[in-house]
Amino acid sequence: MIEARGLTKDYGDKRAVDGLTFSVRPGVVTGFLGPNGSGKSTTMRLILGLDAPTDGNVTVNGKRYRDHEAPLHEVGSLLEARSVHTGRSAYNHLLSLAQTHGISRTRVDELIDLVGLREVAKQRAGKFSLGMGQRLGIAAALLGDPSTVMLDEPVNGLDPEGIHWMRSLLKGLAAEGRTVFVSSHLMSEMSLTADHLIVIGRGRKIADTSTSEFLSAASGNVVRLRSPQADELRRLLVAPDVTVDVIEPGYLEVHGLTAVQIGDVAAANRIALHELTPRQASLEEAFMDLTREEIEFKAAELEPEKAVA
């Protein structure tokens, strides 16, 4: 269980996280979604106490992370930035972390097997590929049998097999009743793993909802239709809150009406329909819609900098 209240972080005069209030519940996978640079990694560092908040606070299982006696047993974390000494072997890296909590060598071996790094465990971590580095990070995160698992962009650098492995791992962890909090800038990835979504842009919370609700709310009513009397139908459908785009002659996209409403209008006016397809926006599109404002903001900010250069 993670609870943030008014969490705010400034770096110089830039506000990276802006009054975030949310809670992450156990037993489900919660996706933490936002474009690059929206404050996801900063929020996670604040949760772990690596950075101190400018304002607000965040607790894990009722206490500040720092105040727990066995922090690795409370939260297992994987940060986006590499957190491994390149000169140390994977085994010794995990052992050094395990020893701070009196965790046995047997457990270290168990995790090395779980993430599939047995053959390279004695090699220096600096030689690892991105995917192997992620697996090592996962092993470190799970070392303490944590009740909360927090992963920043965990599928980054994983191959398809690794991505599949990661998805089933996350679901398994949630099924065991753990709190699973996973960030990503990829909506499609979240749609496959997350049950709940917290969406942020420019450090502010934009949405906090179940994945399915997020999808249906964001897609709105978009219906595509094909008709030999498209022009006539178009005139009948247009209303103040309904827009009709002509994609090609005889092929329309209607915003603001359901397929049922359109079908009824067509039937009442004896207009033939050759196709009537409600379109569900992909999560990617929904995400883009929601964060567009934030991104445009950013693009506008970039202009003066370019001019200076």
């Binding site: 690596l50 066995a70 957190s83 000494h85 140390r88 909590h101 965790i103 457990r107 679901k171």
Partner: protein
């Protein structure tokens, strides 16, 4: 969201304890000995501590016949025996800086502070582990350097000095104590600066750049100030003779310990306050 058929299970951990200072010490010991840079720096420290006295003793012995009386009087057997300490201090200092800055440059510090979010136990553990290791590994070399250089100089009666002569044992063992303290001082600098190049440069400035600059000052100022510099105060620990403008071994040594404590205290305050 459908649940995948092949769900990974995380095995339950048999035992997870709370974070204690002793456990952090054990972790830091693992970290220290599992890096190649540690082995190389310590090997360099050991080698330089022994090699220079043997080299200087051999040179002194072979040139003894051609030396003037004045030149001969200038030779001191303990200066020769502990000549290596002045060189190996750089290897130990570099390692002291690296013990902490290596974690910042690789990002390991995030893993470290996630495991030990109270942070200070990490600084104390690093200091203790590195201090003990550097003292234990530098003690045999200074003893070897003393007895080996004495053996090489055995033909020259006035260059013979007994280990039991007042101050000799203190100076020789003091060489290892000094190296340990230099390492701890450098570790503190590293924790403050958090950058390998910056840490080594800061250490070099304090130990190798500022002291010669003092010679530009009016002599009275130089005499008054220089003896209190970390390097000068620390040097008294392994010096047999002490000039009019240098501290005695104990005050000098304690002042150097004070500098180490001050550096670590500043590091501790910053460590807790700063973002990682």
């Amino acid at each position: 969201m459908s649940t995948s058929a092949s769900v990974q299970r995380l095995p339950r951990a048999a035992h997870i304890g709370r974070v204690t200072q002793l456990r952090v010490v054990l972790s830091e010991w693992t970290k220290l000995h599992s890096l190649r840079s540690t082995r190389w720096s310590l090997f360099a420290g050991i080698f330089l501590t022994i090699a220079f006295p043997i080299l200087f003793a051999a040179l002194t012995s072979s040139h003894w016949g051609t030396m003037s009386a004045h030149e001969r009087a200038d030779r001191h057997p303990l200066d020769i025996a502990l000549a290596g300490v002045n060189v190996s201090q750089l290897a130990i200092a570099v390692l002291g800086v690296l013990v902490i800055t290596g974690e910042y440059s690789t990002g390991m510090i995030r893993a470290t502070f996630t495991a030990v979010p109270k942070r200070l136990p990490v600084l104390w553990a690093k200091t203790a582990v590195f201090g003990v290791v550097s003292f234990l590994l530098m003690l045999p070399p200074v003893l070897i350097a003393f007895f080996a250089s004495q053996a090489i100089l055995s033909r020259h009666h006035i260059l013979q000095i007994s280990f039991s002569h007042p101050g000799v044992a203190r100076s020789v063992i003091g060489g290892a104590v000094y190296l340990m303290l230099v390492g701890i001082f450098a570790l503190g600098i590293g924790a403050i600066v958090r950058n390998t190049a910056g840490g080594i440069a800061t250490f070099a400035a304090i130990f190798f750049v500022i002291p010669p600059l003092m010679n530009i000052l009016p002599t009275s100022w130089n005499n008054a100030i220089s003896q209190y510099l970390p390097s000068e105060a620390g040097r008294q620990i392994f010096s047999l003779t002490h000039g009019a403008h240098s501290l005695a071994p104990w005050p000098g040594g304690l002042l150097f310990v004070g500098y180490c404590a001050l550096t670590l205290a500043i590091a501790a305050v910053l460590l807790v306050r700063r973002d990682t």
